[in-house]
């Protein structure tokens, strides 16, 4: 039966509206941490299964075993003291090395004279693996906290320095002209113009410095008589006590993560002004 087409009417075709995603998909999309959590749990579950298989080597431990070990050490094994000793070294080294790297890097960025003076030295020392310097330093200062912090500081210096130089070089020179126009002293310009302007770039360097500090913290504690997480780790390995060894590794990792998260939070707050971009007002 032919349908009659009257002028002024179009054939009516049923068009369904675009399908909205299922409710659970929307739920998950708004909570990205769920995906991360699910992934982590899945990995842990697989690991646990692998560790529970009969015939597995004795040095392979599952997450539940490590967790129990960690708990035991915290309660009776003096874990807190070790953590404190290690953190003190790492953070002190980071503060000294990173701080110095930042300031000298900024100076090198703006002062051609300083850059010419200092750059060759730092280019020469940078490629040297700092842990290789430890015995050298130890000959003079012994395997002490001071020598450890020194090595950590030297290692933390370079990423901070390089990124600070980069940050300083990238600053719009007109900003300094504004400072000169206004009659700001060089001191004021350094702290109130150069530093904030270079910070976005320089902070990247500090994040790397922090991680490097943790690596060197463990590395320096493994050599010579020491306390701290790295030393405890090594001791456990040598004694074949794999439980405490893994617990130490996990603990170190958690400390690093916590420190990194704190630094990230602090830098987010310092650089809050960057989020306000887009030029939509007015």
């Amino acid at each position: 039966m032919r349908q009659e087409m009257r002028p002024g009417t179009a054939p009516h075709r049923a068009v369904s509206p675009p399908l909205s995603p299922p409710a659970w998909q929307e739920f998950v999309r708004q909570r990205p941490w769920l995906v991360t959590l699910a992934f982590v749990l899945a990995c842990l579950a697989l690991w646990e299964l692998a560790a529970a298989r009969p015939g597995r080597p004795e040095y392979l431990l599952g997450p539940s075993q490590i967790f129990t070990e960690l708990l035991a050490l915290t309660q009776g094994g003096g874990l807190a003291a070790q953590v404190l000793a290690s953190l003190r070294r790492a953070l002190l080294g980071f503060a000294i090395g990173g701080g110095l790297g930042l300031l000298l890097g900024l100076l090198a960025g703006v002062s051609r004279n300083f850059r010419d003076l200092f750059d060759l030295t730092q280019a020469f020392t940078h490629p040297v693996p700092k842990i290789a310097l430890f015995p050298v330093v130890a000959v003079v200062l012994g395997f002490t906290d001071i020598s450890r912090v020194l090595i950590i500081a030297i290692s933390a210096f370079f990423p901070a320095y390089l990124n600070a130089v980069n940050g300083a070089l990238g600053v719009n020179p007109r900003l300094f002209w504004v400072a000169r126009n206004v009659g700001a002293s060089r001191w004021r310009s350094f702290w109130q113009v150069l530093l904030p302007a270079s910070l976005p770039r320089a902070v990247v360097g500090l994040r790397i410095s922090l991680m490097v500090s943790f690596v060197l913290m463990v590395a320096t504690e493994v050599v010579g008589h020491s306390n701290g997480l790295g030393a405890a780790l090594m001791r456990a390995y040598r004694e074949g006590a794999y439980g405490p060894m893994y617990a130490g590794i996990v603990c170190t990792a958690l400390c690093g993560m916590a420190a990194n998260a704190l630094l990230a939070q602090a830098s987010r707050r310092l650089l809050a002004w960057q989020a306000h971009a887009g030029g939509h007002l007015g």
Partner: protein
């Protein structure tokens, strides 16, 4: 008030010497609004930098209020093409900064900043960050900051060049209104003929290679000027005049010879 005597600027590039500017002789009276019109590369920006004390002339001297210019100073406030506000400070903190540098207390500086923001129409955006503002708003803030220095001379380097046409028109009218109220001496660089005519008491036309003054014309339009001034018929005459001068002064003009010389 401003004496530019025999100023020239020569750059050395490798083993070549390029004379970018000069010699220039120019006098600007107190309270005058002088616009400098010229094609790209004619050295007008270099001249402004020399006036500001950011660059040193190869020959000649610049005297402002009897004192020879040897470097930047608060008496000569510079406004750049891009606002150059500190993005990490709010608009109000930016405008307050020159006062703080001069030693004023936080409260005084804040009060002064609020006044200036009101003058440029930005009171509502005092706590916004520069990144949140549009180009026109940023230039207003930059102007407010420069005024916070209490300069006697305003040096403006194509401040409206990066703005859209409508915003530019509005900013021109606001600037002339502000100037009328403050009586500052202004040197304003532009390549926009209409802008030069509307704003200036005098238009100084510069030619390129090397940058020199080609013409210095008084603009006989009544003051104070506003949107209605733009409808004045004499503007067309001035336009024609400057257009011709610019064409002749531009290096590209050498290749194009036009027998029909501007007949209005």
């Amino acid at each position: 008030m401003i004496e530019i005597r025999d100023v020239s600027k020569t750059f050395r590039r490798g083993n070549r010497t390029v004379q970018a500017l000069g010699p220039i002789d120019l006098t600007v009276a107190r309270g005058e609004f002088v616009t400098v019109l010229g094609p790209s590369g004619c050295g007008k920006t270099t001249l402004l930098h020399i006036l500001g004390g950011f660059e040193m002339p190869t020959t000649g001297t610049v005297t402002v209020d009897g004192k020879v210019v040897t470097g930047p100073g608060r008496d000569r406030g510079m406004v750049f093409q891009e606002a150059t506000l500190f993005p990490w400070r709010t608009v109000q903190d930016n405008v307050a900064w020159p006062s703080r540098v001069a030693g004023e207390s936080k409260a005084q500086a804040r009060e002064r900043a609020r006044e200036l923001l009101a003058r440029v129409g930005l009171s509502r955006f005092a706590d916004a960050y520069p990144g949140e503002l549009s180009g026109g708003m940023r230039q207003r803030a930059a102007l407010a900051r420069t005024l916070a220095m209490e300069p006697s001379v305003l040096l403006m380097d194509e401040p409206f060049g990066a703005l859209d046409a409508q915003t530019r028109e509005v900013m021109q009218e606001e600037l002339t209104r502000l100037w009328q109220a403050t009586g500052l001496t202004v040197i304003f660089i532009t390549h926009d003929i209409a802008e030069a005519i509307f704003l200036g008491d005098r238009v100084v036309v510069m030619g390129a290679a090397p940058g020199q003054v080609v013409a210095d014309t008084r603009i006989e339009l009544a003051r104070p000027r506003d949107a209605r001034t733009k409808l004045d018929a004499r503007i067309l005459d001035y336009r024609q005049q400057f257009w011709q001068l610019l064409r002749d002064a531009s290096p590209a003009a050498a290749s194009a010879s036009d027998p029909a010389q501007g007949q209005v």
